[in-house]
Structure formats: structure tokens, C-alpha cells
């Protein structure tokens, strides 16, 4: 589904390489976790995949279901099924959350040549999904992420994911800043979207999210590369011994 091949990325503004040859394939139906110390390039990978400005791809390819991702605008990637749950969701004063969701859902449908969702149908689905994530009517009415707590912002990301039904879901530290209850809600939201057609790339700094979202594979990223790949046990190893030992073993 998503194939990342020898990806090298540097900052556009300065000659600072950040990703130094990332190789990774996420198959449909599988959950891949990426763990790694702060600054290892996890967020950069997620931004480059979704098309944020400011990075330059110096080598490598990314392929999503047969399409060259780097030839696509961010909105085209989204319509093709790519979704990033942001580590820091953006506040947008003046744009209502509901308007935003409906515009996004219909923009994707239009680009795929499908009919727009009727207002009634949209409302029905959004209410249902919001309820599962304990997002109340007030949060739907408010401007996007404005005045939301950390946990509310993350739940709002999962709501968008549920509404857009992407093929590949990238979650960047969706667990950071969440208490246990909020993490459970978010994990339930993610788990309910797991199916055989959808792949997940779950970026996390800590192991605890992976207790709730059970990964098929765990990768360790360090200094812009995936240095180790294993099963769920690898996450426990990180939890118990930290990155230091692990990375020392690699070097």
C-alpha cells in the first residue's frame, strides 16, 4: 500500500539532512509503529509524506497504491487516501469545525468524482462518530481546534480520520498530552477503524499507546534512519531499557 524507498530529506532553507535513507512498507490491514528519540525525524517523515512545504527530497521515492506521492499536491494525497493526525493540530479561528469537516468530506468526494454528501446524511454520520469520541455539539460548532484542550484536539483529529475514511493513517504522537481516559478513547477510535483495507503508521515516543493499539511491527528510528525492526516485543524492550542500550547495540 505505502512504500517508502531510500528516502532522503533535507530542510529547504539550510543544508541540514534529516532523513537519511528511510525504507518502510506498510501493507493494507497492518499496523506499523515507529518509535525513536526526540529529534530522530519521525515528524519530518510524516510531514514529507503528507506534502508540507519547507522540505526537500534529495533522494528516494514514496509510492501509495501505485501512485508517485511526490508528484501530488497535499490535497491530492489526501483524496488518494493519505491522512496525517498532526502532533500539533492547527487552530483556525473563524472556520467552524463542522464547516471544515463538511468541506473536507465533500472536497474529497468531488475529486474522486463522487456525489457530495447531503447535509442531512453528513449530520447523521458526524454526530454518530463524534459521540463515539465523546465530542459534544459545542466542540463541533466551535472554530477548528480554537480553545480545545490537548486531548480535545487529538480526539478531533481522530474524528476527521473517521469522517474521511483514509487508506493509510499516519498518527504522529497522538498519545502525547493525553491522560489515560483520553488515550483509551483515542485508541478505541483508531481500533474501530482497523480493517483489512487500511494501513496504519503509528508514531509514538512511548510504549503505552501500543498497549491499546496493538502493532504488527515496531520500527526504531534514530538519526533519520530506521535502525531496527521487530514485533510488539521491541516496544517493550524500549520501555524497559530505553533507547540508549538499543541504539548502542545497533551502532
Amino acid at each position: 500500500m505505502l512504500t517508502i524507498n531510500n528516502l532522503h530529506v533535507k530542510l529547504e532553507e539550510e543544508d541540514k539532512p534529516i532523513l537519511k535513507g528511510v525504507n518502510l512498507t506498510v501493507e493494507a490491514g497492518k499496523v506499523h509503529a515507529i518509535m525513536g528519540p526526540n529529534g530522530s525525524g519521525k515528524s519530518t517523515l510524516s510531514y514529507v509524506l503528507s506534502g508540507k512545504d519547507g522540505y526537500e527530497v534529495t533522494d528516494g521515492t514514496v509510492n501509495l497504491n501505485g501512485q508517485d506521492v511526490f508528484g501530488m499536491e497535499p490535497e491530492e494525497r489526501s483524496s488518494a487516501g493519505m491522512f496525517l493526525a498532526f502532533q500539533y493540530p492547527v487552530e483556525i479561528p473563524g472556520v467552524g469545525n463542522m464547516t471544515f469537516l463538511r468541506t473536507a468530506v465533500n472536497a474529497q468526494r468531488k475529486s474522486r468524482g463522487e456525489e457530495e454528501m447531503s447535509a442531512a446524511e453528513f449530520l447523521k454520520i458526524v454526530r454518530l462518530r463524534a459521540k463515539e469520541l465523546k465530542i459534544d455539539a459545542d466542540m463541533l460548532k466551535r472554530p477548528v481546534n480554537v480553545g480545545f484542550s490537548g486531548g480535545e484536539k487529538k480526539r478531533n483529529e481522530i474524528l476527521q480520520m473517521a469522517m474521511l475514511e483514509p487508506k493509510i493513517c499516519i498518527l504522529d504522537e497522538t498519545d502525547s498530552g493525553l491522560d489515560v481516559d483520553a488515550m483509551k478513547l483515542v485508541a478505541d477510535g483508531v481500533n474501530s477503524l482497523r480493517n483489512s483495507n487500511r494501513g496504519f503508521l503509528v508514531i509514538t515516543h512511548y510504549q503505552r499507546l501500543l498497549d491499546h493499539i496493538k502493532p504488527d511491527y515496531v520500527h526504531i528510528m534514530a538519526d533519520g534512519q530506521i535502525v531496527k525492526t521487530g514485533g510488539p516485543d521491541l516496544a517493550l524492550e524500549v520501555e524497559n531499557n530505553g533507547y540508549k542500550d538499543l541504539l548502542a547495540g545497533v551502532a
Binding site: E73, P74, S78, L84, F86, V90, G94, T103, Q108, S111
Partner: protein, 426 residues
């Protein structure tokens, strides 16, 4: 004799082809206004409030042509149940206008009110005179002297529906001077709507006297073609616990100067002036506001938002003057521009002048581009760059649009903005 400097010579050029209407109750006020004009001269670039805007086109005798839109014009407020008054190039169109009758409201026309004891006699040119201090507003005096028509509205209760003034431009070089006088007696209520490009060159004045406890709302759209030149003034006086709220949406036009001068003379009054504008290319839009607090416990708000692209220029000059004794004044002022490219410009002069100690006044002015992070966030959800930019542009304007209390009217003006965005793709 001193030699006349340029802006004094300009008066004679400017008025050479104009006639000062004679023989009615307003003649004295008109003659006085011409005297006022002659004493201050036409506006010049070096005048305090003309540094950011060139007044030349308002001073010259001829009118630069402005294309008359060939399209059948959509009347912005056509869905509103209102008393409709139509002016074509400043000439009253009786056929298109409703009968000038409304419960609790008396409506006359300036051009046809010859009785020597008209109620408007005590106001016509009077609020304009008050507005000349401390800074002259010569185009206001020019208007009082030479206005050819306008409506005189006396409100004695709660008007059952708004008055909707529709301006049509018919000729490419029409030069129009209109002067309206509105008096709301104690406890009265009225909404006035204005829309349309009135002329190639327009000079429009509204004098509004809002007595104790009265409520006045004013919603205006200046939906011009690209060449119009427009200068407007609102001169308002507010009594005890009265409310004045004015909102202007400016779309296109080569040069628009909107001045709003408010004297708050009664305690606990509320004055809100707000505006939104969108301009592309050869567009210069100027809001110049002066609010004088001369009473206790009053609130004033100025909220202005400007979207500018392709070299468009926005100007905001807003002042809050709090006189000694105007304690518990609550004054707020914000002016912001969204520059959609590097060529556009926003010039702002926010001013506070306060002579009372127990007041809250704040002002802010910012200029910025589209928020790249917000743009990427929207695009990452499948929204095209064009649509995302429009969403963020409307979001930017929202704080000003929210100043329109009536939801339906707000919706109508938002649709005007959406139409503009649709016509002005990147």
C-alpha cells in the same frame, strides 16, 4: 492679499459647474457650508487625514469615467422586506421606489421639501458642522452646499421595516452629491440599508441624530465596478442610552473614502462602526473614523478588516477621543489587513486621545499573510489550495462580519464576499 494656495484655488475649479440650490429652508445652511469650505480649502495631501489617500479626484471639476456594469445587477437586499428608495445617478426614480410612507416614520426628499419650516432645518449641515472640529472635513461641507437630493427621515417610534436605498449608476461620467438627514426621536428605532454603485464619482453624506434611547442600524454595501470614486461621510450625534451601529462592505472601486464622525453626547450610549473590504488591483479603500466620547459610561467599537491583493491599498485612520469627564468609557478599536501578495499595502493610523482617568481603551492594528500552517492543515484534509484560501479569507473577515447583528443580512453580505472570491480567483 495672500496668494491662494492650491487647495483654495481648487474650490473654484471644483464648484464652477455646480449650482447652489436657492430659495428653500436649506439655502442658509448651504451658504454657510460654502463659507466653511472656502475657509478650509479642498483636501490636500498634507492635511492630517489625507496623507495616505490622494484627494485629487474629488477636487477636480471633471469626473473620470467609470464603466457601467453591463450585467443585470443583483440587488443585494432584494430579499429584505423593506421600503425601497431608488436613485439613478442621484436622480430619484419614482417608478422604482415605494411610496414614501412608513408607520412612525416621515420621509421627505431634500429636493422636494420647500416648506420654510421643515424639521430638518435644525439638523441639515449642523451635524456636519460639528464634525469639522478638530479636523476639517471639506468634502462634507462641499456636500452640504451642493447636494441635489437625499432623503429626510424623521422617526417617532419603532419603524416596522428598514428603508432600503438602492443606488444605480447609469452614465459613465455621472457625478452625484446626495445628502440624507435622519432624526430618531427618543426611543425610536430604524434600520437603513444602502447598496449599489451610485455614480462614477459619488459624494454621499448622512447626518444621523439619535435621541435618548433610540436605536439606529445602518448596513451598506459599496459594490462598485472597478473605476468608481466614492467619498462618504456619516456625521452622527448620540443621546443618552442610544445605540448606533453602522457596517460597510466595500467591494471594488478605484478609490473609496468612508468617513464616520460620531459625537457621543449622552451617557451610556453605544456606538459601533465596522467594515470589511475586498480589493484586487487598482483599489484604494480608506476608512477614517473619529469617535468623540463626551459623556459617561459609553461604549464604542471600531472593527475593520481588509483583504488586499495585486497591489490593492487599504487605509485605516481611527481615533477615539475621550474628553475630560467622560469616565467609564469603554473604547475598542481593531484594524487588520490580510495581504494576499507582497504588492498590496495596508496603512494604518490608530489613535487614542484620553483626558479622563477611569476608562478602558484598547486598539490594535495588524497586517499579515495567509497562515501557511492553517493552509497546509486544510489542504491535508483534501481541501484545494483555492478553496482553503477562500475559507481562511472569509474566516479573517468573520470578526468584522459578526458586527452585523441581523443574521440574514450578515448572510447576504457573506454571499457577496463569496461571489467576489469566485470572480477573483488567484
Amino acid at each position: 492679499m495672500t496668494v491662494l494656495t492650491k487647495n483654495f484655488r481648487d474650490i473654484e475649479l471644483r464648484i464652477a459647474k455646480l449650482n447652489l440650490p436657492q430659495g428653500d429652508w436649506a439655502t442658509e445652511a448651504r451658504t454657510d457650508a460654502l463659507k466653511r469650505l472656502r475657509s478650509v480649502g479642498m483636501p490636500e495631501r498634507r492635511d492630517e487625514y489625507w496623507r495616505f489617500t490622494r484627494p485629487d479626484v474629488f477636487n477636480q471639476s471633471g469626473t473620470p469615467p467609470a464603466t457601467v456594469s453591463a450585467m443585470e445587477k443583483e440587488i443585494v437586499f432584494s430579499q429584505v422586506d423593506a421600503l425601497q428608495i431608488v436613485f439613478d445617478d442621484g436622480i430619484f426614480n419614482a417608478k422604482e421606489s415605494d411610496t414614501l410612507a412608513l408607520e412612525y416614520v416621515s420621509i421627505d426628499r431634500l429636493a422636494e421639501s420647500s416648506s420654510d419650516t421643515h424639521w430638518a432645518k435644525s439638523l441639515y449641515g449642523q451635524l456636519e458642522t460639528n464634525g469639522q472640529k478638530p479636523v476639517p472635513r471639506p468634502l462634507g461641507s462641499l456636500n452640504t452646499a451642493f447636494a441635489t437630493d437625499g432623503i429626510l427621515v424623521l422617526v417617532k417610534g419603532s419603524a416596522p421595516k428598514p428603508i432600503n436605498i438602492i443606488y444605480n449608476q447609469k452614465e459613465e461620467t455621472s457625478d452625484v452629491t446626495l445628502h440624507h438627514v435622519v432624526r430618531l426621536e427618543a426611543g425610536a428605532e430604524l434600520t437603513i440599508l444602502e447598496s449599489g454603485p451610485a455614480a462614477a464619482r459619488l459624494n454621499n453624506v448622512i447626518e444621523v441624530d439619535v435621541a435618548d434611547g433610540a436605536v439606529f442600524h445602518h448596513i451598506r454595501t459599496q459594490n462598485n465596478t472597478k473605476d468608481n470614486h466614492v467619498a462618504t461621510h456619516i456625521f452622527a450625534r448620540l443621546g443618552n442610552a442610544s445605540t448606533f451601529k453602522s457596517f460597510t462592505l466595500t467591494i471594488n472601486g478605484k478609490l473609496t473614502r468612508n468617513e464616520c464622525l460620531i459625537e457621543i453626547t449622552g451617557d451610556d450610549a453605544v456606538a459601533h462602526v465596522a467594515g470589511a473590504c475586498v480589493g484586487d488591483g487598482n483599489f484604494h479603500q480608506d476608512d477614517t473614523v473619529f469617535i468623540t466620547h463626551d459623556a459617561k459610561g459609553c461604549e464604542s467599537r471600531q472593527v475593520f478588516k481588509k483583504v488586499l491583493r495585486n497591489g490593492a491599498v487599504g487605509v485605516f485612520q481611527g481615533k477615539i477621543l475621550v474628553k475630560a469627564g467622560a469616565q467609564k468609557t469603554d473604547g475598542y478599536q481593531i484594524s487588520q489587513s490580510l495581504l494576499l501578495d507582497g504588492d498590496s499595502q495596508f496603512l494604518a493610523k490608530p489613535e487614542l486621545e484620553i483626558y479622563a482617568d477611569d476608562v478602558i481603551c484598547s486598539h490594535g492594528s495588524t497586517s499579515g499573510a495567509i497562515d501557511e500552517d492553517a493552509l497546509f492543515y486544510l489542504r491535508s484534509r483534501g481541501i484545494s489550495e483555492y478553496e482553503a484560501t477562500n475559507l481562511l479569507t472569509l474566516a479573517f473577515l468573520a470578526e468584522a462580519m459578526d458586527e452585523i447583528e441581523d443574521e440574514d443580512l450578515r448572510e447576504m453580505l457573506t454571499r457577496q464576499l463569496e461571489g467576489w472570491l469566485e470572480r477573483h480567483r488567484g
